[in-house]
Symmetry: C2
Subunit: 207 residues, 2 copies
Amino acid sequence: MAERRATNITWHHGEVSADDRARLLGHGAACVWMTGLSGSGKSTLARRVERRLIERGALAYVLDGDNIRHGLNADLGFGPADRTENIRRIGEVARLFVDAGAIVITAFISPYREDRARVRAMLAERFVEVHVATPLAVCEARDPKGLYARARSGEIAELTGVSAPYEPPEAPELRVDTSERELDACAERVLAHLEERGVLPRPSSGG
Amino acid sequence: MAERRATNITWHHGEVSADDRARLLGHGAACVWMTGLSGSGKSTLARRVERRLIERGALAYVLDGDNIRHGLNADLGFGPADRTENIRRIGEVARLFVDAGAIVITAFISPYREDRARVRAMLAERFVEVHVATPLAVCEARDPKGLYARARSGEIAELTGVSAPYEPPEAPELRVDTSERELDACAERVLAHLEERGVLPRPSSGG
């Protein structure tokens, strides 16, 4: 009889609910989408938020250039169409992680408002946009990958914020500037926001 | 390929280790890769294994046609090149879930040995290949999506096992036939295998 039900397509979907997953993991699911210029500190902040969440017993996972650009999206370049496809795929993967019950943190420049809006539409209230709004001058002074130097010398034709557009979020859930606050203070703001949304339980005072 | 493999070395910053994740979740990470014909019972079995794992407190998640073909891989068709890209992307997403510490279960026909071998090479000992070896005649009698009928009438040009090749695994970690055993018995074999590998802790006798 169970065998019979198994062939029913609606049965596939109802096996494990989002509530089952929240009970298992002890927190809600969300996608913390960090957007900002190269050198703004997105990936560093994402990794710190991930660690803090794991320390608090939450299943967090970062998607960034390190694990996406060399893997899933290794076939994509940096032209406008490929950038859009890059963000589409990352949004879809983020949706899978949210569906699995995790707190997924993405760290990509994601310069186009329309691309981010599509991901937001897909994830609805699970989407938490964080604008890592470190000023261009600071990003350029940091230049962790040497991209700004290469763009200024003409070696790179298109760099976001220099020779390619960056469309800042108009109403992000959070805005942080990693040149204004310590990394841990920035991470704390993200965690506090997740608590406010009810994604992350507040630490018990007994702690 | 070689380029991808070379860059894998630096793909992970290491803020949170695999051990941290195993401690958090209480189990190891793995990719249970189900391969077999349409109608063999891959997706049904995958969902049952997922439910059983969640009931045991393990973070399991299924990737199958329902959440991949309409999302991440909505841009791909069913020709040989697109099938290969389909499996490549699924392998990459499975790797991300394994990296996050989860037990990810994939349910795709994945007919080509070479495509599966690439995923195995990437995931190494985390890859658990399960051949859902239900005989073609049984799959065709079930025909849950009506594909066999449409293939026999010529309406579908290429169907795996009928007019397109299926290359069965030569040495899968497990082989199950959903026409020989009850669904729960098949699921139990998968769980027992995960226990044997040390991915899943054995249930405490205290129950």
